[in-house]
Symmetry: none
Subunit: 207 residues, 4 copies
DNA sequence: GATGAATGAGGGTTCATTCAT
DNA sequence: TATGAATGAACCCTCATTCAT
């Protein structure tokens, strides 16, 4: 009865807290890295007590991984957009997929990607998840696309079809450059993507 | 004469210890990252007392940076080999430079590179050094080479000349892939380099 | 009901621990001085873990200052007794105030005073507190008293009214002497106080 | 022969170094106190190597004590000036002795005195020396003087003759006040001395 | 479940002291 | 005797984790 008066049920409250903790963890981990992030700060930012964090997540590592999964989920969903359209150049499909990513390099999303690159080496399980849930799915979509492109003669080099890493290279390079050197020597991420795609795919005049 | 009998003078011993500490630091930092590396372990590995580490390096950060500089020096030296040869394709000059790097991806040198990528974000001074001593020199050599290549019509796209990052992309992507996913899905680093160069430079038949 | 059964609530326990730490800190700081006191020993004496000390006090300095304030508080309260009584000689009022202090020179309270004199120079904030909370209040009471005494002709020299330090001098000298030389050459603190007051105030026969 | 060319013999050099170390120690100990003073800084200030300090003084405590003795020596010598002059008031003799001390309260000499008061409690041997070499000699001179004064009727109270601490009180109080509170509430040290002497000795008109 | 006081192992850093040169 | 590199015990402080309320 009293429960009706509260806008959220207990489960809903728990879910809300869980999300708040994950969101706070994201900010703190991005800002400080795994080792330098204090659970205390995450709790404070989430507006809960320190102990509550441990009620929701076994330990610091699990919190990190849970946060990672939560953050990466939207990207997983976007991968499904990568489908060949009969009337489109494969390059255009891919470019349409990558362009928003490039624009996010300088946003918090880019920070997250940098974080995973930085910490991934020390979190095999995170790398597993990252590979299993993102890359293998992404490459599972890319490879057929690239094979079609190869068949259509859109590729400069047939080897590209088996090396989808080359498609993502401008994103990876851009993300790292931004994190390490942007303040010293800015890089035009869009140009980087465009030139790379120009090189991987044959020009329009040839197509 | 007595001095001849002792293999090392005091300063030489100090230098030797300094090197031992740097070498030990390299191993430990690569294995554990900055935060999780204990000075105690570095000291033990170097065969000195903990205090000795602080006698040689102000604090943990300085030790890390000194180690970084020491390790990167050989690479700095190698950059000078990047000179155009009148009778060689620019691609060949660049490929000759990059191929050894690719082969080092799976060696301790690669570990170091991964370490710098991981920790560089939290060590602006390290990034400064890395950019100032390595990248700006490397790009300072690459850009003229690429402009020559552009003039000779060796480039697929003239924009490459202003984006030397695309030349290094296979190394960067390879290093990261190795650190994150090699055990899950191996990547043929040589092929990655070859295909990328095939795409950036026009084929022989065209040249 | 259950709450009634437990003698201490959580906050009460925390308060009790806080007090225990302050009491332990007092003993240790008095015995060893600031620099030579180990937080570990304070914790042990207080019956808590080392971390608990830092849970209650930011750092060693704050612990010292908090202890100082806690210990000095009773003295602050006593100052209010320093009020003129119409039918009493000012000297008697002051003597009644100082005599208990003299008797405490050889007790832990005296140790604390010695400690503050020793460490005050290196703790400006402690000196500030000591001056602001104790001396300025004490002198604020003493000066009117002494002016009344001057008006009544009780003072040997009117200048005393503006130098209340002379009233406290026997205490200060006694405290220092006790700490430094008592074992070598004992000093009769009561006599010191009496003779000083005899000299500052005119004799009864004269009054 | 070559020795003739050097201006100082070996012993003289050693003496010079010894003095340099003592002088440096004085400055550092006064500035930082015993615990916070680093032998390294003393050595640097003295222009010698750290090891040299330990060649001249067994350990840090001995260095402190040696410095103390060296610094106090001039004061010991001054005590001999305290002799009764037939045609002078005892008060004048004493005042002539104390006035220069009062004027030194705000000088490095005063810092030294403060240092000894601060650290004396933790250095029984220093207190011993201070008492044996300074105070007992000083009081040995003062007491006869005061007895003469008592016999001459110069004293307000015969008890003063057995409490020479009251003579020194303005100095002690002044030194402490300066160290602890001068910046908060300045004290007129000369006035303090004058009023105290005015109170201890009978006025001129009576004498 | 939520809380936050308590824990205590851990690690960076300091510095008096030693000793080979 | 002078040097200063090396030592290592000591100690402050951090912070993930626990658990009584």
């Amino acid at each position: 009865m009293a429960k009706q008066l509260t806008p959220h049920s207990r489960v809903e409250q728990a879910k809300a807290r869980n999300d708040a903790i994950l969101a706070a963890a994201l900010v703190e981990f991005v800002a400080n890295g795994f080792a330098a992030t204090r659970i205390d700060d995450v709790a404070k930012r989430a507006g809960v007590a320190k102990g509550t964090v441990f009620h929701h997540f076994t330990d610091k590592e699990r919190l990190f991984e849970s946060m990672a999964r939560a953050v990466l989920q939207p990207w997983v969903d976007r991968i499904d957009q990568l489908v060949p359209a009969p009337d489109m150049l494969i390059r255009s499909v891919i470019e349409a997929f990558l362009t928003p990513l490039v624009e996010e390099i300088a946003t918090p999303r880019g920070d997250v990607l940098r974080l995973f690159i930085s910490e991934g080496m020390r979190f095999p399980r995170l790398a597993d998840f990252y590979h299993g849930e993102i890359l293998s799915k992404l490459f599972g979509r890319l490879r057929p696309l690239l094979r079609i492109a190869a068949a259509r003669g859109e590729l400069c080099n047939p080897g590209i079809a088996e090396l989808p890493q080359l498609i993502g290279a401008p994103i990876v390079v851009g993300v790292l450059w931004h994190g390490l050197f942007q303040r010293i020597e800015p890089l035009d991420h869009s140009a980087l993507l465009k030139v790379q795609l120009d090189c991987l795919f044959v020009g329009k005049d040839r197509g």
